[in-house]
Symmetry: C2
Subunit: 366 residues, 2 copies
């Protein structure tokens, strides 16, 4: 009987992760670069392990959210191309220059600032530019886009523009017309920038067909084994498993209740198992009375509310408790894929992955 840290395991299969990356590589056109989105600590899986695995699979282009995340990449590898999605931070210009990090410029103000910096210090920096074609979140809006196209040679004098990109809002649903309309919009824009890379596709975009490939795609969730489409068939291998050993088994009587709020009441004598997994570990409280876990092929119901540090399950069907006391139960894994688990609480695999397990032991399988 151990504590949280020694009893719960987040297994990350780097072999499956690499296979997923290579599968995307096979799916896209021959000359299309497959970059990898590794922001938010590689969606929570640990960028220090995920990055080397992807580099071994010949991935050379990476997308992160912030300068801090980019510096994490640079600690691991000095050569790969690192794009910073959240835009230019004025205070970070020296760092970008020193470590050859590529800001994804999100508006003309940022462009003017980086141009001025290069003029002043006689530098030439790589930049990317993000055009908004329908997310209304980041990137140049329509007015700014028109302005840039019209005055390109004036506005980009010093920078080395290596990539223009946009981002699909509804790539999770191939039936939405918005995908094609965003692509049309971006096609009009990219005609004006023939000498750099063009990218519009995230994981969902990769599955929309080759016309969305352009010459760079930048998947994230698919590499990590999560569905990127609402009705996705099983394209990619499961990468993440969450397993845990029991920290306690108890008997309760008919009428006894389980957990906070006494939301579960026993109709008969029962055996209850407790695991050291809770919402403090990112295991959502929405799983309260609403989650199945597995031991081999046996399905086990989570009962009662999820606590901060523990959950309880119904073990009444097991006759030999000694036999199961040191076994690893599967909360997420091959029997219980992340895509099924997240559907039951009406979220997406991205959210489950990024929130999981500050206190779990990570085991990397390679």
């Amino acid at each position: 009987m151990k504590n949280a840290d020694q009893n719960t395991f987040l297994d990350i299969n780097l072999k499956s992760l690499s296979e997923n990356y290579l599968k995307i590589k096979k799916r896209v056109t021959k000359n299309c670069i497959v970059a990898a989105t590794v922001k938010s600590n590689a969606y929570g899986l640990g960028v220090n392990k995920v990055l080397p695995a992807l580099i071994r699979s010949k991935c050379k282009h990476f997308f992160v959210a912030s300068t801090d995340e980019a510096m994490e990449i640079r600690k691991i590898n000095k050569k790969v191309e690192v794009f910073i999605l959240n835009g230019l931070v004025l205070e970070d210009l020296n760092i970008l220059s020193k470590y050859k990090l590529i800001p994804v410029i999100n508006n003309l103000k940022q462009l003017r600032k980086i141009e001025r910096y290069q003029g002043k210090f006689c530098k030439k920096l790589k930049i990317a530019i993000h055009f908004d074609t329908g997310m209304s979140r980041l990137g140049l809006d329509k007015n700014e886009t028109a302005k840039l196209i019209k005055n390109q040679s004036k506005l980009i004098k010093n920078s080395d523009l290596v990539l223009i990109m946009s981002h699909l809002a509804c790539a999770d649903d191939p039936k939405r017309k918005k995908n094609q309309s965003q692509l049309n919009e971006f096609n009009k824009i990219r005609k004006h920038f023939p000498n750099c890379l063009h990218s519009i596709s995230n994981s969902g975009g990769v599955l929309l067909g080759r016309k969305y490939n352009l010459n760079m795609v930048r998947p994230g969730i698919s590499i990590y084994g999560g569905n990127c489409q609402i009705r996705e068939r099983k394209h990619y291998k499961n990468v993440v498993s969450l397993k845990s050993k029991l920290i306690q088994i108890r008997e309760i009587n008919k009428g006894d209740t389980v957990g906070y709020g006494a939301t579960f009441k026993a109709k008969k004598k029962m055996k209850i198992g407790t695991f050291a997994i809770g919402y403090g570990d990112g295991f959502s409280r929405l799983f309260s009375n609403n989650c199945k876990i597995y031991l081999n092929n046996k399905r086990i119901n989570l009962i009662g509310r999820v606590s901060m540090d523990s959950v309880t399950v119904d073990l009444s069907e097991f006759t030999n408790l000694k036999q199961i006391s040191n076994k690893e139960f599967e909360f997420i894994g091959d029997k219980n894929p992340i895509n099924t688990v997240c559907a039951s609480i009406n979220t997406i695999p991205y959210e489950i992955l990024t929130n999981l397990g500050k206190r779990y032991q990570r085991r990397y399988i390679s």
Copy 2:
């Protein structure tokens, strides 16, 4: 315009935190010890800052979940009493002994193990024992409790029993009869252990009245400013504020959509602001199209889905955008207390706090 790390601030008011602790101290009977529950990194607020603040307020007893968390406490302070709630880990016995950490024994098996260890190495360790009176989660069940009471002198020969405890399941609702029945149950048990501390109350228990005080209470969420009761009046001060500066402002036209899934469609020309806060930072995706934020007294609607690294809001009412471009908008705080925020997504302040902000800048106010 900066990145996530420099743009978003988790403010933690250690002064209010201490005031909340002292307010509990005033509420309980004179000789009742007020311990503090600081598991899960002090509910996400940072145990390295929270602990010294509580120690300055004369708190001397702390509860954590695991040995790892207990060791974090010991790095900060060598003298305070540290109780480990998740029970005894056999492999950790030497650490418990060396660093004077107190395991909360959860079953007779654990008790036998720690007794045997002390016998073998001629040691005397402090222990606590947890009796289950209605959570069915951790602690000795009815059979084990009866067994221990009957054979106390045989089963506890070496250990120094300093505390017996139980845990309330429905303390968030003073109307539930279960509170009184758990107290009755515990009162029967504690008669048999007259020479140690007795504790049954968490934050909710503190508000149930003095008969639930016994000689130790162990609040957590109240200290951190979160409600612990369903219909709680404002007993405690707000401790946590989440503030963020805009990373981008854009104009969109009638018919344009915002964010993933295009769930928001503009009925007129609008101004949209983007913040570097997302579910990758623990800001739940359930806030999609369902959250208000504040700038001074102005209420602003979050629109579209929450992304991994960003959210978008409606800034159409602001005429002077330059004036707001460097302002801190309040996502959680005095205008928008954590208790209101969590109610809108049907969770409890505990979950919001423990998940918030791996990538935010923390600012401690003392």
